[in-house]
């Protein structure tokens, strides 16, 4: 009886202790989760203003910016640049330490908002598209003239006869459309006498499959075009499929943008002639880095060209 009593005492005591410990640990975990604080308090709060469109280009910009923020002990809030939402207009009141803007807006409106930020001495960096100003803001991105030249180079390298060219811009890639003159100047510069006739400018909307409709209409109405340049990766993939369906492979050259696996596969098969690849992640990373430099040192490079690459069947 005594032994049973002793065993019961020890057993119940231990079980009670285990139950108590587990309960306490859960309460503590709940409390800690409720009051979880960053081990390292971020030093800067930056805001990134981008178009609402969240295609791979902007997603990669955001990823690059977030990587840089984490690396440089900063935090990042993402906002829309849509004028209807007042985000950029109210940016100067939001208490941020710096702003990254991708200003594909109408220039006067964009400049007004950027000047407002400048007036409140909030560090500002532009990405992907520049806004002309007397006192230019730091710019991170590609030079669209260079992009145009690279596109023209691909088109000229593969064309044995004259090039009749159409460039398809997209709402999904507003920066390129905003600087279409520069792009087309670059293309013309690269093609020179091979370019036959004016460059046809087209634009797809934000629908991922809109390029299919456009290519179909293009080659149904005007069969003289033999080279089409796409400025968006989704459009490139959609158009390539239509070219196959319309049995235009070999007769129409497609020059795309981006290095998605689908595009690389089309290049390997010879359906897409080549592709222009910019590095949006690098743009985002560099933008945040420039803001940190502005905050800490007070200055940064006026312009950082993140470069453009060509991917084609030659393996270059």
């Amino acid at each position: 009886m005594k032994l049973l009593l002793r065993i019961g005492l020890i057993l119940s005591g231990l079980l009670a202790l285990v139950a108590f410990s587990l309960s306490l640990a859960l309460v503590r975990a709940l409390h800690v989760r409720g009051a979880e604080a960053d081990s390292r308090a971020p030093e800067y709060h930056f805001a990134l203003y981008l178009p609402d469109n969240r295609n791979s280009f902007f997603t990669e910009i955001i990823r690059g910016a977030e990587n840089a923020a984490e690396e440089m002990n900063a935090v990042l809030s993402i906002h829309t640049i849509d004028p209807a939402r007042f985000d950029l207009e109210m940016a100067s009141f939001s208490g941020v330490d710096g702003v990254v803007v991708c200003p594909y807006l109408e220039h006067s409106f964009a400049r007004r908002q950027l000047e407002k930020l400048q007036a409140r001495q909030i560090p500002l960096v532009l990405i992907n598209h520049n806004v002309p100003n007397d006192r230019p803001w730091p710019y991170i991105g590609t030079n669209n003239f260079d992009v145009g030249r690279k596109m023209g180079t691909i088109a000229g390298r593969t064309a044995e006869e004259e090039v009749r060219l159409a460039v398809v811009y997209s709402e999904k890639e507003p920066g390129m459309f905003a600087e279409r003159e520069l792009v087309e100047m670059g293309i013309a510069d690269a093609l020179r006498e091979k370019l036959r006739g004016p460059i046809m400018s087209l634009k797809t909307n934000s629908n991922l499959l809109d390029a299919e409709r456009m290519v179909y209409e293009l080659f149904t109405d005007d069969s003289r075009i033999n080279t089409v340049i796409f400025t968006d990766s989704n459009d490139t993939i959609a158009a390539a499929q239509v070219i196959i369906d319309m049995n235009l492979v070999g007769r129409v050259r497609i020059i795309g943008s981006g290095n998605d696996p689908g595009i690389i596969e089309y290049i390997r098969k010879g359906i897409v002639t080549g592709s222009i690849v910019v590095n949006p992640e690098k743009i985002g990373y560099q933008a945040v880095k420039s803001l940190v430099e502005l905050r800490s040192a007070g200055y940064t490079s006026t312009s950082v060209d993140t470069g453009v690459e060509i991917v084609d069947g030659s393996g270059r």
């Binding site: 009886m1 005594k2 009593l5 002793r6 019961g8 005492l9 119940s12 005591g13 079980l15 009670a16 139950a19 108590f20 587990l22 309960s23 306490l24 859960l26 309460v27 975990a29 709940l30 409390h31 409720g34 604080a37 960053d38 308090a41 971020p42 030093e43 800067y44 709060h45 805001a47 900063a74 935090v75 809030s77 993402i78 939402r85 007042f86 207009e89 109210m90 009141f93 939001s94 208490g95 941020v96």
Partner: protein, 484 residues
């Protein structure tokens, strides 16, 4: 006991307190997730009401409106957290931005009021317009933030509920186990209290059975019980000691009583023997007179042989009663035996051969108990030759072997069975035996009496049909024990 009860009480109070604490803590955690939301909503409402005195002041410059404006502005500023941390959480980051927008809104309101005071119409009108847009934007952001937070909270709520359930389950188990533990603790305390009592009762039973050698009861940790236990142990030990002493006294008393009883019996025996002796002294006188008369008659009548026989008979009786000593010289015993032999020869003139063999020089040198040879010879005559038709022989021999004087009475009679020999050599104690001890038994008992330390003082060798030899060994170096 009191300590145990108090311990159990404390344990239960602490357990209940912990359950209460954990419940309150969980409520606080649940509440805190909504606290920020409530703060923001409250600020949003305050901002809406703030618009009224602002507009009133800007349009009427009312001092009342200004006072209210200043109070509301201060109240709103107080509601804004002093330190809004830069968090990696996007919702908190957005909240930080909203608070910054509200702060900007209040700064702008102050600027507008300043402009109004300075009658700077161009100053406050655009500011007010900007404020209106900002307020709209703040409201939109608060709504957006609420929606986002609600979405986050839905996920967090699921986790919280699961955790809450687990905590409640563990709390329930904790209460069950701790209650069980407390009950067992109480039982143990009760057992600790009752166990000495049970042992006391068991020991009392043992004591009542007379077992005072049981071990002392161990003390418990209860003072009152220990007091009783110690008193009981002390009582047990004292009683044990008394009982031992009484037993010892009782033993002595019994030994004394037995000794006394033995002495009484011995005295009784002695008295009886004295009576027998007196009686024997009285009868022989008559017998002697009668025998003398008979002897004179035989002489007168010329019957010389009868006269001689009666003379020897008279000599034998006289010899037996003349000496009253217990221990007599060997010569005295031999003389008596000679008289007895003469009578036996007259009785059995043809077929009984009697031999008496002794060295003459030993007769005066040694002393032996009186009348130990004649009864042995008489025993042979009476029992040994009952069914014997042939010549019978009785040999009495006296010799010295080292320090022992050896007296031997041997016959060639029918012998004595082993059982009878055993019975003779190991007689019953004197207090248990009959007082009518005759012949051989008498001799054996007397020899044992006089020589208690010599176990082989008498030996009987006998076999059926081949006679009996009775040997008496008397240690000449030790005096016989004649004192009672």
């Amino acid at each position: 006991m009191v300590l145990s009860v108090f311990g159990v009480f404390i344990l239960l109070v602490l357990s209940t307190t912990y359950i209460l604490f954990s419940s309150i803590r969980m409520q606080e955690i649940a509440d805190s997730s909504f606290q920020k939301e409530r703060n923001l909503k409250s600020m949003q409402e305050s901002l809406m009401t703030y618009q009224t005195p602002l507009l009133e002041y800007l349009s009427t410059r009312s001092s009342n409106a200004l006072a209210k404006l200043l109070v509301d502005s201060q109240t709103l500023r107080n509601k804004i957290p002093a330190n809004m941390p830069k968090s990696t959480d996007s919702t908190e980051l957005r909240e930080r931005e909203v608070y910054a927008l509200i702060l900007s809104f209040l700064d702008m309101a102050d600027a507008a009021v300043e402009a109004k005071r300075g009658r700077n119409i161009a100053g406050y009108i655009p500011v007010y317009e900007e404020m209106t847009r900002l307020l709209k934007y703040i409201n939109e952001e608060v709504e957006k933030l609420s929606t986002e937070r609600f979405r986050d909270q839905l996920d967090a709520y699921g986790v919280f509920v699961a955790d809450f359930r687990n905590i409640q389950l563990w709390n329930l188990l904790f209460i069950i186990f701790i209650s069980f533990f407390s009950i067992l603790l109480l039982l143990r305390a009760v057992e600790k209290m009752t166990d000495p009592m049970v042992r006391l009762s068991e020991m009392a039973t043992e004591l009542s059975d007379g077992h005072f050698g049981v071990e002392d009861i161990k003390t418990s940790s209860i003072y009152e019980i220990d007091h009783v236990v110690e008193a009981f142990n002390r009582m047990k030990n004292e009683i044990g000691k008394y009982i031992e002493e009484i037993r010892w006294q009782e033993n002595i008393k019994q030994e004394y009583m037995q000794e006394r009883l033995r002495n009484l019996k011995m005295e009784e025996l002695v008295r009886r023997m004295e009576i027998y002796t007196l009686q024997a002294q009285m009868n022989p006188h008559f017998l002697f007179n009668t025998l003398n008369t008979g002897m004179q008659l035989a002489i007168v009548e010329g019957a010389d042989r009868t006269g001689e026989y009666m003379e020897y008979l008279s000599l034998l009786f006289r010899h037996n009663i003349r000496n009253k000593d217990s221990i007599v010289p060997l010569r005295h015993e031999i003389e008596g035996l000679k008289y007895y032999f003469y009578i036996l020869k007259v009785r059995f003139p043809k077929n009984l051969d009697l031999v008496l063999d002794y060295p003459e020089e030993m007769l005066d040198g040694y002393r032996i108990p009186v009348s130990i040879l004649q009864p042995l010879v008489e025993n042979c005559v009476v029992h040994a030759f009952k069914n014997s038709a042939g010549p019978s022989s009785i040999v009495v021999r006296i010799e010295k072997r080292r320090s022992d004087l050896v007296l031997t009475v041997a016959d060639n009679g029918c012998g004595i069975s082993a059982e009878i020999v055993e019975g003779l050599l190991h007689p019953l104690p004197i207090d248990e035996s009959s007082s009518r001890v005759m012949g051989l038994e008498n001799v054996i008992q007397r020899l044992y009496f006089f020589y208690p330390d010599k176990k082989d003082v008498i030996e009987i060798e006998s076999a059926s049909g081949s006679g009996t030899t009775i040997t008496i060994r008397i240690d000449t170096e030790n005096e016989p024990c004649i004192a009672f």
